[in-house]
């Protein structure tokens, strides 16, 4: 589904990703872990096509398409979703209007008719339950005045509504208390399916207690230096990253 | 110009024939032409909307005779505990240095002294900067200053020189006859230079004074300039002060304008951010009662990208005092990434006090962060009640809250001893209250 080959990327002229390789197939859950500054969030931004990041070398292929050729909204319409680490507030724009616009734009891209209002409302109701999202949040402006937990829950709710093929969750666990973490993780698990892949970017193993990954990768200094199964995450939790640094030396 | 108010001074100008250095002469002539065109600002002028000079200009003034019989300035030690500043004076229109300052050895190349003298000794240097900012100002009073000013304070700080003690300039208006006073100060900081200037304004004597001072400041790349102005004059004083600051790339300035006692005051402050990454901070406070009038007219020009300005003015007005504040912020086309923040907060303490504010934002670039706020109101009643419920008397509570209100202006002063001194002066000023707007007894 997603294939990343020898990816190099700069931000403000500083190289952050230095030859990253990764392959993700449908139905898989991958976890990417690593110390601060390793390039985890950069990877998420580059995949989404954030113009602040410049790809200097390498390839990204998504469902057979060259991702580098596509604008951010085209990537979204192709089925790519990023759950932001810091979701942006958009004052005055209600979540309902925002999501309806997003959904219809994506449908337009795929040559589909706009979703009828009644279907959209039914869908909203259904998906809200999935992430135990309170009704009033969808009537409020996008992310405005949301608590940290509400923002993250709203991200997963949007993911549920837009039904992407590949979702990247960038530090979705940061700033969440244990109950919110459980709710968010449950939401993600319910969305997992054989057609869908999920990449979880996280600092801590605790999210992986709830979202069990098929693969765990260690991102270090702009490269994936070690891959394994969920036991790797447990070892990182108890021993830290020093042993990896030693292995590399 | 057929107006008699102007005509009288135009005649006077023609009669004053003191020979000056050539730098002064050319500027005087140009100023004369400008004044003939502009005249004094009248009550219809948008620029002087909040300052009515009609009464002040109807008084018959004489010009300074530049001849001090006694050294009045010696009475004004203006000593601030904890600061050993270098002390200079402009008495009426004429410059004097204290004995201490005369004997002071500054780092190589530093010049501090009389502008008149500097215009002879360093004519090229003075010619390069003198009048360069003021000649662009369309203000009749600045032109007027140019017609009559013949001296003032001059300071030159060469590249990368830091003057480690504050320089203090005490302006004294003195005499028993009504006088119209004009002085011109010129301050030049070369690249990377650093200096702090403290300016005190006082009056002595029983006459009416019309003080019209002009200060031009050139702050070169990466230089840092701090300007603290404290006015403590008399109710018979009309005080016009124009401060023009030109800032080059990565320079930093901090300007603090405090009006504690006065008659009618108009401060024109213009910060011109003419280099990228320049930073200008401008703070002001005014305490007014009786029929004092304070008008701060500020203009911050963001002419280049990536500059920052913060502006905060606070007024506490009682009696029949009147406050005015104009805050113009101009962001030029292409001055992207500008940050400009402005706030005007005012408290009215009496039914007869009056406040008028006029923020004025003109923005021609899109990638900017600009905000401004203005409030006119009273002391917070809930806070008053809270303090009183803790056993603090109403008067004392009021004082505490006024003091707290003014504090965030004072907190920005970077000379610790001066900060303490101003706090003391403010407290004294607030305690002395409505009836006795005492002069600056702390400094005497």
């Amino acid at each position: 589904m997603l294939e990343i080959k020898n990816l190099h990327a700069d931000v403000n002229g500083r190289e952050i990703l230095k030859g990253l390789n990764l392959q993700v197939n449908a139905g898989e859950i991958h976890a990417i872990m690593g110390p601060n500054g390793a390039g985890k969030s950069t990877l998420a931004s580059v995949l989404a096509g954030n113009p602040a990041f410049e790809v200097t070398e390498g390839e990204i292929t998504f469902l057979g398409k060259d991702f580098m050729e596509l604008a951010p909204e085209e990537r979204a319409a192709e089925g790519f979703f990023l759950s932001f680490q810091y979701p942006v507030e958009i004052p005055g724009v209600s979540m309902v209007n925002f999501l309806r616009t997003a959904m219809n734009e994506q449908r337009k891209y795929r040559g589909q008719e706009p979703i009828p209002a009644s279907d959209f409302l039914r869908l909203m109701k259904e998906k809200k339950e999935l992430v135990e999202m309170q009704s009033n949040l969808t009537n409020r402006s996008v992310n405005e005045g949301f608590s940290g937990g509400e923002k993250k829950r709203s991200e997963i709710f949007q993911m549920a509504m837009l039904e992407p093929r590949l979702a990247v969750l960038d530090e979705t666990d940061s700033g969440l208390d244990i109950d919110a973490l459980r709710i968010v993780a449950n939401g993600v698990n319910k969305l997992a399916s054989p057609e869908r892949a999920i990449i979880v970017i996280t600092h801590y193993q605790r999210l992986l207690d709830y979202i069990v990954p098929d693969f765990v990768h260690v991102l270090f200094d702009g490269r994936i230096v070690k891959s394994g199964n969920k036991d790797l995450a447990l070892r990182l939790e108890s021993e830290g990253y020093d042993w990896i640094k030693k292995e590399l030396e | 110009m057929d107006n008699s108010k102007e005509a009288q001074y135009i005649d006077l100008y023609r009669n004053v024939r003191e020979v000056q250095s050539s730098v002064f002469e050319a500027y005087r002539k140009a100023s004369f032409e400008r004044f003939k065109r502009l005249g004094f600002p009248d009550d219809k002028s948008e620029q002087y909307k909040y300052t009515n000079l009609t009464e002040a200009l109807s008084v018959d003034y004489g010009l300074d005779n530049h001849n001090q019989k006694e050294l009045i300035y010696e009475a004004f030690t203006c000593a601030i505990p904890g600061i050993r500043s270098h002390l200079y004076f402009v008495v009426n229109d004429t410059f004097y240095a204290s004995d201490e300052a005369k004997n002071q050895v500054f780092p190589q190349g530093v010049v501090i002294g009389s502008l008149k003298e500097a215009s002879r000794l360093y004519s090229d240097l003075v010619a390069k900067y003198f009048g360069k900012l003021s000649e662009k100002e369309e203000d009749g009073l600045i032109a007027f200053n140019g017609m009559f000013a013949h001296d003032g304070f001059f300071m030159y700080v060469p590249e990368n020189v830091t003057i480690d003690r504050p320089i203090q300039l005490v302006n004294i208006s003195e005499g028993n006859t009504n006088q119209l006073l004009n002085s011109h100060n010129l301050i030049i900081l070369e690249r990377g230079a650093k200096v702090q200037l403290l300016v005190c304004d006082h009056t002595e004597g029983n006459a009416r004074f019309f003080v019209n001072r002009l200060t031009e400041v050139h702050v070169a790349e990466e230089a840092t300039y701090e300007h603290y102005k404290i006015e403590n004059t008399s109710s018979d004083t009309t005080h016009i002060s124009s401060l023009l600051i030109d800032q080059k790339e990565s320079s930093k300035t901090l300007t603090t304008i405090l009006t504690l006692n006065n008659g009618l005051t108009r401060n024109n402050i213009s910060l011109m951010l003419n280099g990228e990454y320049a930073e200008g901070l401008l703070y002001g406070m005014a305490v007014g009662d009786l029929d004092q009038k304070v008008d701060n007219h500020t203009s911050i020009l963001h002419n280049k990208p990536n500059c920052h300005s913060t502006e905060l003015f606070k007024y506490i007005l009682g009696g029949e005092s009147q406050g005015g504040f104009t805050g113009r912020i101009y962001v030029a086309e292409d001055a992207q990434k500008t940050e400009a923040y402005q706030n005007s907060k005012n408290i009215l303490l009496s039914t007869t006090a009056r406040m008028r504010t006029k923020p004025q934002l003109e923005i021609y670039a899109d990638d900017v962060r600009c905000s401004h706020g203005a409030t006119i109101g009273q002391l917070d009643e809930t806070a008053m009640f809270y303090l009183r419920s803790r056993g603090i008397s109403e008067d004392e509570a009021r004082l505490l809250l006024m003091y707290a209100f003014a504090a965030d202006v004072i907190e920005n002063i970077r000379i610790e001893a001066l900060k303490d001194r101003i706090k003391l002066m403010l407290e004294h000023r607030l305690r002395s209250g409505v009836s006795q707007a005492a002069s600056c007894i702390l400094c005497r």
Partner: protein, 478 residues
């Protein structure tokens, strides 16, 4: 529901630029006492009104155009403008007598003049060039004692009311354009709501400039007597022409004890083309007086049209406990210039006012907010809160803010806040990531930014100006 207004009017080409081919009577260009007399005579006016016009004309002739606004106004030759133009057929009793071309015009504009076709109750007074074409629902309103008719008709039918209130809020010598209007005003709307009556439907005037080389000088007077209520809507369009046309109107509102008047405008005069050619000069004096105790006036305006706008809908808060509101969205694009805002004059005790202004500048346009909050000596406990935000959408436009505050009473609390911003790249990227292309994202964010004001528009505007509105899912989700 009103979220799409802005998108519609800013992103689409001007749709109302057509002209109507009706027989029109136009007086020759130029302004003189004779022209003033001619207008008055054509309208068969009483002597006192002619005297009023002449007084205004003589005063105007001595005045100069104001130049303090942040506007570059090309020289206007007041002698080259025609001051009166009217479709030839008038004094109609039924819709059948209206020129079918005129009916077509208002149909095209989405203004229903056929009462049976109207879905929700909105009474319309349609003004084409200098005269009122047709007022709907007159009978229904008359049953409740409400007067809603053209200004000319009011002069004939209710001269005492007109005489009592006309120029009581905006005197003939108030300013240059008010003096001009007072001399040559042609028609407009008159509204009187009697004591204790809540007007059951929205009243609406639709202004249309059609004739070439004419100015439009209409005059609106709304009087709400004790304990009454009315909501009034104003819409306006003009054909696309290469030359500029002058529109100098006066609106006066009087609110007596406990009365409430809501005045909403969607100002959509032709703004000129992309190169800045043509467009309406919109120099309007709008002012209301909260004359009685507990009275209330609100101005809501969505300003998208006109080449140049000079307009400050204001309120005099004279009655104790009166309150006033001003909500404004002003959008400028291409070469448009707007200098608009409000004046809140607090005179009575316990008065309050609220100002919310959202400016949006794009292209090469200049957009200024200018406001005054004045608290008089006797105005105990006055309260004002003002918020003025500007958004810039291009790096070649300007956004300016001039909020004056003058407080002469120590019990007042007057607060002003303002911000200037552009749409952040983070917001756009966030929308992009959800699949929303940048252009749509900008529309969405701009609409969100202006929403607080748009929400103040009455629902019924949707019926009157159908082309400007689309009902969205907004608010329909529980």
């Amino acid at each position: 529901m009103s979220e799409d207004i802005l998108e519609q009017v800013t992103q689409s080409e001007y749709k109302y630029g057509f002209t109507t081919d009706v027989e029109t009577e136009i007086v020759p260009p130029g302004l003189s006492e004779d022209i003033v007399r001619l207008i008055s005579q054509k309208k068969n006016e009483p002597e006192w009104l002619l005297e009023f016009r002449l007084k205004a004309y003589r005063h105007w002739a001595k005045m100069k155009m104001p130049n303090w606004a942040y506007l570059k106004i090309p020289e206007i030759d007041y002698q080259s403008i025609s001051y009166y133009a009217a479709p030839k057929k008038k004094n109609l009793n039924s819709l059948d007598e209206v020129d079918p071309e005129l009916l077509k015009t208002f149909d095209k504009l989405g203004i229903p003049l056929e009462e049976q076709k109207i879905l929700s109750g909105v009474a319309v007074d349609a003004v084409m060039d200098s005269v009122s074409v047709k007022t709907t629902f007159k009978k229904e309103l008359a049953e409740r004692g409400i007067i809603f008719c053209s200004f000319s008709e009011a002069v004939q039918e209710y001269p005492d009311l007109v005489k009592q209130y006309m120029a009581s809020v905006v005197p003939y010598d108030d300013n240059f354009f008010a003096a001009l209007n007072s001399a040559v005003f042609s028609d407009g709307s008159f509204v009187y709501i009697p004591k204790g009556v809540r007007c059951p439907m929205e009243l609406s005037t639709y202004f249309r400039i059609n004739a070439i080389n004419t100015g439009q000088f209409e005059r609106t007077l709304i009087v709400a007597d004790d304990d009454s209520y009315v909501s009034y809507l104003e819409g306006c369009t003009a054909p696309m022409r290469d030359e500029n046309q002058l529109h100098a109107a006066i609106v006066e509102i009087v609110a007596m004890n406990n009365a409430e008047v809501k005045y909403s405008t969607v100002q959509n005069w032709y703004p000129g083309d992309k190169k800045g050619r043509g467009g309406i000069y919109n120099f309007v004096t709008k002012r209301g007086i909260c004359k009685g105790k507990n009275s209330r006036i609100s101005w809501t305006q969505v300003e998208t049209g006109s080449a140049i706008t000079w307009k400050y809908p204001s309120c005099i808060l004279k009655g104790d406990n009166s309150s006033a509101e001003f909500y404004s969205v002003a959008v400028t694009n291409n070469h448009q210039q707007a200098d608009t805002g409000t004046k809140m004059i607090h005179l009575g005790k316990n008065t309050s006012s609220h100002i919310l202004s959202k400016g949006i500048s794009a292209g090469l346009s200049q957009n200024s907010y200018r406001g005054l909050v004045y608290v008089g000596k006797e105005a105990e406990n006055a309260r004002n809160f003002s918020q003025c935000d500007s958004m810039l959408l291009s790096d070649r436009c300007g956004a300016h803010t001039f909020p004056y505050m003058e407080v002469n009473n120590d019990s007042a609390v007057v607060e002003h806040e303002a911000t200037t911003s552009k749409i952040s790249e983070d917001q756009i990227f966030y929308c992009n990531q959800r699949g929303i292309p940048t252009e749509e994202a900008v529309g969405l964010i701009v609409n969100g930014y202006a929403k607080e004001v748009l929400n103040k528009l009455p629902m019924e505007f949707a019926v009157e100006a159908q082309k400007l509105l689309q009902i969205t899912l907004e608010g329909s989700v529980g």
